[in-house]
């Protein structure tokens, strides 16, 4: 046990780890938001609610159907992703020609519906979700204790983030996607089914949020308001990073998680607000965000 700046190393590294965990979720969610915004020009306010919905799906799968964490990690994102695609077909597709603000308002309404329904059936208290047996325990790294599950969450979200980056920036499908973002009419003229691509993109973005939701279930309690609390912070993350670049979203997400964790060590009172303060400073210095492209 040693000390850094008068703080015991255990506490420092512990908070750093929590920061990285939070950062993983910020990165996954802001990535999903950026992917959806790029294609649909809609800010998906329901993103947090969909994240929460996936956590509840995992909880219900476990308690009612005895389906464990690993299958849930696949099933919940697929179910919630399909739910997202249905939402896109039923509601969002009518809004593309309108002011972008209507998309925000509609998805805000969806978020209220999802959160309100969850509260009616499960109340506001958090429900515990057990860490899977295969990831119980942890490693003693000498300077700190690293629970296996947390290591898995950080590694998995890094892998998913870079997988998404690779998919969009380096594959043919991603090239279609980026082209359709730039000029949908022209891409349609080449015989690519753009509306279907939009639906799939929304489903994919929602599935990313759902994946984060399942991974979050054993760490935070499963509760109806877990999404709305998180999504506002993620909005700030998106404003700081700018939505122009995928790598930017990933870096900003993890970076801000770590900064938030460190704030918890050195100045606990400000840990809730530090990300918003950083947002205000970034807006003063670089109004377009750290990685923003457009003026």
């Amino acid at each position: 046990m040693f000390e850094i700046f008068g703080i015991p190393s255990q506490a420092l590294f512990g908070q750093l780890l929590i920061g990285l965990i939070n950062g993983s979720f910020y990165a996954l969610l802001s990535l999903g938001l950026a992917v959806i915004f790029g294609m649909l020009n809609i800010i998906n306010f329901a993103h947090g609610a969909q994240y929460m919905l996936a956590a509840f799906t995992a909880y219900i799968l476990l308690t009612s159907f005895d389906i464990g964490y690993w299958p849930a990690l696949v099933i919940a994102p697929i179910l919630v992703g399909i739910f997202g695609m249905i939402v896109e077909r039923l509601f969002l597709q009518w809004l593309y020609k309108l002011d972008h603000l209507y998309g925000l308002l509609l998805t805000f309404g969806l978020a209220l519906i999802i959160e309100g329904t969850a509260r009616n059936y499960y109340g506001s208290a958090g429900l515990p979700y057990r860490v899977p047996d295969s990831l119980q325990g942890g490693q003693n790294l000498g300077f700190m204790f690293l629970p296996n599950y947390r290591a898995w969450v950080i590694a998995a979200s890094l892998a998913v983030c870079f997988g998404t980056w690779f998919l969009i920036e380096r594959t043919r499908l991603g090239a279609y996607l980026r082209a359709a973002t730039e000029n949908p009419t022209l891409v349609r003229a080449f015989g690519i089914n753009v509306p279907r691509m939009i639906t799939l993109t929304y489903g994919f973005g929602v599935a990313l949020a759902a994946l984060a939701g399942v991974m979050a279930a054993p760490i935070y309690n499963v509760s109806p308001q877990m999404g709305s609390e998180l999504i506002i912070v993620v909005f700030a993350v998106v404003v700081i990073g700018g939505m122009g670049s995928i790598l930017g979203a990933i870096v900003t997400g993890f970076g801000l998680g770590v900064i938030e964790g460190l704030t918890k060590v050195f100045f606990p009172e400000a840990s809730n607000t530090v990300i918003f303060v950083i947002m205000a400073i970034v807006l003063l210095v670089r109004p377009t965000g750290l990685f923003g492209r457009r003026a």
Binding site: F37, L95, L106, F108, I113, V239, L283
Partner: protein
């Protein structure tokens, strides 16, 4: 692309009979209402109607969607309640203190937010409001989860006892009508015309030599100040300031009221505030389903009913409301 509010057709506003008539009907209803229904409910409706009108000034006439107006409403309500209870100020001074607080916050938030537009503007206002929610949660004077309860209504100018509901009602009516007429004056002034020009085509307004950022900032501060006036009055009327007033669902609620009534209409926010509050009273027994129903109304308004109640009526009869 369909805009959030209907574009302006004529350069100079035509004098129409519909607006003065609607205003006369509104005043008549508000004068008679306390004798027919609960005065406390009507006072609450007027507070939220003023809040929604202030919000509408921004979305309806500048085209900026603020998702953080609970900040001004809630913080003004806290400062007003604290001034009346802890400092023992008379109600008019307490309301003034709350309103000025909202104006100051509006200026700071405005400087930060008007640098971005559209979707980003909404996200930034929401994030700033959430930051101030956490400050309200942690600050000592706000009373945390309990809020500031049993705020004394006091005596207006040290003379009129506002614990009498009728006296309180007259004061709220005066504040509401004053705020409403001020907003009406603003949107029909040359300043208001520039705001509408910015909403229609900001680049064009810039090329005409207008410093659009200053106009937008001014509109933002005015909207925040009037929201603060509404929040302060609410604190005196309901005798409570709490976290509910400053949290994000309140920001959503004022958006909903304005949307239901009609974005960019003069009377829409008032109708919307009445409809939403009446619904909350009627649906109080069903608890959390209120949230779901509000969500359904949001979705329905955006998909089917974008003009809102007043907007639809005005459109159907081809009049200005």
């Amino acid at each position: 692309m369909e805009r959030v509010a209907e574009p302006v057709r004529s350069a100079a506003p035509v004098r129409t009979w519909s607006e003065p008539l609607a205003f006369a009907v509104l005043v008549a209803i508000l004068v008679l209402a306390p004798f027919v229904t609960y005065p406390l409910f009507v006072m609450q409706v007027m507070c939220f109607a003023l809040f929604a009108c202030a919000f509408n000034l921004l979305i309806g006439y500048v085209g900026l969607l603020s998702f953080g107006h609970a900040l001004y409403f809630g913080w003004a309500s806290y400062v007003c309640a604290h001034a009346a209870k802890a400092w023992g100020l008379t109600p008019e001074l307490a309301i003034l203190a709350g309103t000025l607080t909202a104006a100051a916050f509006g200026l700071i938030a405005g400087v930060l937010t008007i640098r971005r537009q559209g979707i980003y503007f909404a996200m930034i206002t929401l994030a700033l409001a959430q930051m101030m929610y956490f400050f309200a949660l942690q600050a000592k004077f706000t009373g945390g989860e309990d809020g500031i309860q049993a705020v004394p209504r006091g005596r207006l100018f040290g003379i009129v006892n506002l614990h009498d509901d009728l006296a309180m009602y007259i004061v709220v009516l005066a504040i509401f009508l004053g705020g409403f007429l001020l907003i009406h004056r603003i949107i029909n002034s040359p300043f208001g015309e520039v705001l509408k020009a910015i909403r229609e085509n900001e680049a064009r307004a810039v090329s005409l030599g207008y410093k659009t950022e200053r106009y937008k900032l001014m509109a933002f501060v005015l909207s925040a100040t009037l929201s603060g006036l509404a929040g302060s009055t609410k604190a005196i009327v309901m005798q409570i300031a709490s976290l509910t007033d400053v949290n994000w669902p309140m920001s959503g609620e004022v958006v909903l009221m304005t949307l239901v009534g009609g974005l960019g209409t003069v009377f829409g926010p008032i109708v919307g505030a009445f409809v939403i509050l009446a619904m909350q009273y009627k649906l109080a027994p069903v608890g959390e389903w209120v949230l779901v129903i509000q969500g359904v109304i949001f979705v329905a308004c955006v998909l089917l009913f974008r003009r809102g109640i007043v907007g639809e009526v005005a459109h159907k009869f081809g009049i200005k409301l």
